[in-house]
Symmetry: C2
Amino acid sequence: MTDQLSATFSALADPTRRAILEQLAHGQATVGELAAPFDMTFAAVSKHLRVLEGAGLVSRGREAQYRPARLDARPLEAASAWIVDYERFWSASVDALGDYLNALQQLSTTKEENTHG
Amino acid sequence: MTDQLSATFSALADPTRRAILEQLAHGQATVGELAAPFDMTFAAVSKHLRVLEGAGLVSRGREAQYRPARLDARPLEAASAWIVDYERFWSASVDALGDYLNALQQLSTTKEENTHG
DNA sequence: GAGGTACTATACCGAAAGGTTCAATACGAG
DNA sequence: CTCGTATTGAACCTTTCGGTATAGTACCTC
């Protein structure tokens, strides 16, 4: 799991880490601020930050006692690019679902006609 | 990690599983076919398929002895949507990098002028 | 420099991930 | 019904993950 893409997806696989990124989307924050919403120790959030840092999604600074984290979304570009290659498949699936639903509706309409006929 | 998004990202976090999905993008395949490229036992690939199935990214059929797997990309849509929300940040980062590079170039140009002056 | 605040390191834990091996199952072909 | 092929189940192992508690470090304030 040394590759960048795996590290990125792995970092995103945890809801706490996604929430941290969402928080950082509103601007840089200290560990304390980031930890506040969670029922979790500081240390645990600190670990999550290290994972995000390892994936290159977060960079840290130093301001007095604080080590503010800020978002670095660049690794998300490759992740997005990987997924988007499959876009045609999921829209195809949606189309197929649409077809299925249309078929169902068609069927029920036909049935209704039969009932009414 | 019960939520759909976590399951999806988690499934994508493994390079073997991503490779399996890439293979399935060319059409359905049996476990044997999927396992061929990997230095790994059938059973291991079977487990990966189960993970993908659990994430809703793969569905299985039955044809004689074979249990062909096919791609179901629909869960990728939500994953893509999540990531794309950050697009403005990574393009901002790229812009910032561009600014930085411009600044560097500016600097070296200035230096050159000094050298020549 | 003593004390408070913000954070991290270390050690530990239980559970899950990613493999293996080997036995079992499901199916088609003789 | 037996044999070969395709696949999964079960048991096991090692490593990683996500968390805790506790001690230590870094910095500001007084």
